[in-house]
Amino acid sequence: MTAEILIGLYVFVLSVFVGFELINKVSPTLHTPLMSGSNAISGVTILGALACVNAESSFANVLGACAIALATINVVGGFLVTDRMLRMFKK
């Protein structure tokens, strides 16, 4: 465990710093699209859900399929609605 989790922790902490740097400069005009866009990115859990549907237990598979559906709502809906909003911004 230790090596993998520790490396994971490094990656996590460094990514948090990257995130702070990236988002601190976003103009307030774009806060809502930023939020729905980052929301869509958090649907990346879909990768975890994909890993769930190759189990032997069909119960685990059904749970995994539900997780895929929920995460897909988050991903597809999030990116589409962000695009819908960004289309409206005109000079």
């Binding site: 465990m1 993998e4 989790i5 994971g8 990656v11 996590f12 902490v13 990514s15 710093f17 990257v18 995130g19 400069k25 976003v26 103009s27 307030p28 005009t29 774009l30 806060h31 809502t32 699209p33 939020m35 729905s36 866009g37 980052s38 929301n39 990115i41 958090s42 990346v44 859990t45 879909i46 990768l47 975890g48 859900a49 890993a51 769930c52 190759n54 189990a55 237990s57 685990a60 995994g64 997780a67 895929i68 559906a69 929920l70 995460a71 897909t72 709502i73 988050n74 991903v75 597809v76 809906g77 999030g78 990116f79 589409l80 609605v81 695009d83 409206m88 911004f89 005109k90 000079k91």
Partner: protein
């Protein structure tokens, strides 16, 4: 390492890079739209890489899940009204949290097939780590899910009247703390002691249930005015839930993108808190707006002594002779569905050669940046929208300020009256303008439930009425003036 694993990992690397570049380019209007497409492609690359790495996937489940999810997501995204954006983001957050919760439960069920959780975990140290992170993914996912659904109920028009206020249970801190302790305590018990499959299954279901209740308990006391903070915070949680799942599966893409979202949610939360001059702890403890009618001047009409009202015709005359007008829109404008009416009025002013700008308070609307989206929807150019720090020194030199549907964010008591619950909140300095018009139905107070000292000032005039109707009438009068 097989070639598939290597290809997949290179794919992950590409996708992580695209996420980072995407978020960076999302910070400018000009590049934002392509950035969103980039982030979506990054997601596609990540999914493809994951499928390559897994090799044996039961595609029946994948296809079914994706079709159902994509169609629901697309319908929600196309049908939602821009005013309902906070609700939609809350619901999407909730689904993301629920996905993490289900992934955790599904992995647990898969582990149970191979033996009990305790055997698998304590048998090897790597199992212990996986188990811990898996439980974390279940707990954070569950809190995000139930908290977001409750936030949705509080924000929605239909259920807002029931759930919208801050709901204070007796002993609520005790309840929250014990739910917290129960979910964590059970986690520990599960990991350390349970070797019996029935007991450990029961225990993990309890963990999920307690975590769901915890999410409800955390959001319940928070009132309508504070919802922007909560939606941002839950956004951050949904990222953390993805990260936790990433730890359980040892997947760097999940860890990185979850962390990016976690950080972005935290920053937005902080911006919202600053905009209201409240600490996060203060918001989470709740009760604001529900019980603060006592203290410095409650907000009923009798508290005012120097209110001057003005009718539409007279006001239109003043606007005609102005050179520089700043409009301060608040969420009340959206409630009255007056965004296009304000755009129309502004174009009439511009037709008369008046300079028009909009001053947007950080907490105008119901989520960060919400007012900007609502105005953009009505074709108001984004370069006419100014944030508080950019425009606050310009009110003094403007001719007229028009306040529509905003209240607490223009209350000078926030600067002058230490006994006011608003004291210390950054506000728009509209009181410094030569003339301030306020379009409002009545003298009723805003979310904070206090008297607005602005209405009593000598330079302030009220135009009583529905925002949309008043703005339309003002446009008509300006039109007549132009024709004459």
């Amino acid at each position: 390492m097989t070639s598939n694993v290597i290809i997949a990992n290179l794919g992950y690397l590409v996708s992580i890079s695209c996420f980072i570049v995407g978020i960076k380019r999302l910070s400018r209007v000009r590049t934002a739209r392509s950035a969103n497409v980039l982030a979506a492609s990054a997601m596609l690359i990540a999914v493809a890489s994951q499928l390559i790495e897994l090799e044996t996937v039961d595609y029946r489940y994948v296809v079914a899940g994706v079709i159902v999810g994509a169609s629901i997501g697309a319908v929600l995204a196309f049908k939602v009204a821009m005013t309902a954006m906070p609700q939609l983001v809350a619901v999407f957050n909730g689904f993301g949290g629920a996905a993490s919760l289900l992934v955790g439960l599904s992995l647990f069920a898969a582990i149970q097939e191979r033996g009990t959780l305790a055997e698998v975990m304590i048998g090897s140290t790597s199992g212990l780590g996986t188990g811990l992170t898996l439980l974390l993914s279940i707990v954070i996912g569950a809190v995000t899910f139930s908290g977001s659904i409750l936030a949705y109920l509080k924000l929605s028009d239909r259920y807002g009247s029931v759930f919208g206020k801050s709901i204070l249970l007796p002993q609520r801190h005790l309840i929250t703390l014990s739910l917290f302790a129960l979910s964590l305590g059970l986690c520990a018990a599960l990991l350390m002691f349970l070797a019996n499959p029935v007991v450990s299954t029961f225990a993990i279901i309890c963990v999920a249930l307690f975590a769901l209740l915890l999410g409800v308990a955390v959001v319940l006391p928070i009132g309508g005015a504070d919802m922007p903070v909560v939606v941002s915070l839950l956004n951050s949680y949904s990222g953390l839930a993805a990260s936790a799942t990433g730890f359980a599966l040892n997947s760097p893409v999940l860890i990185v993108s979850g962390a990016l979202v976690g950080a972005s949610g935290l920053i937005l939360t902080q911006i919202m808190c600053k905009g209201m001059n409240r600490s996060l702890a203060n918001v989470m403890i709740g009760g604001f707006g529900g019980e603060s009618a006592e203290g410095a001047g409650s907000g009923d009409a009798s508290a005012y002594t120097n209110v001057k009202s003005s009718d539409v015709e007279e006001s239109a005359l003043t606007f005609e002779s102005a050179r520089d007008v700043i409009i301060v829109p608040g969420y009340g404008l959206a409630v009255a569905q007056g965004q296009s009416a304000v755009a129309e009025f502004a174009s009439h002013l511009k037709g008369l050669g008046v300079r028009v700008r909009y001053a947007i308070h950080p907490v105008a609307g119901r989520m960060p940046g919400h007012m900007n989206v609502l105005l953009a929807e009505s074709n108001i150019p984004y370069d006419e929208l100014f944030e508080m720090d950019e425009i606050n020194s310009d009110f003094r030199s403007s001719d007229i300020v028009l306040v529509v549907g905003a209240n607490d964010v223009v209350n000078p008591a926030a600067k002058t009256d230490p006994s006011s619950p608003l004291y210390g909140m950054p506000i728009l300095n509209v009181d410094q303008a030569p003339i301030v018009y306020v379009i409002k139905r009545s003298l009723s107070p805003g979310f904070a439930g206090v008297k607005n000292e602005l209405f009593d000032l000598d330079n302030c005039r009220m135009i009583f009425g529905d925002a949309k109707k008043v703005l339309e009438e003002l446009s008509v009068h300006l039109d007549l003036a132009k024709a004459a």
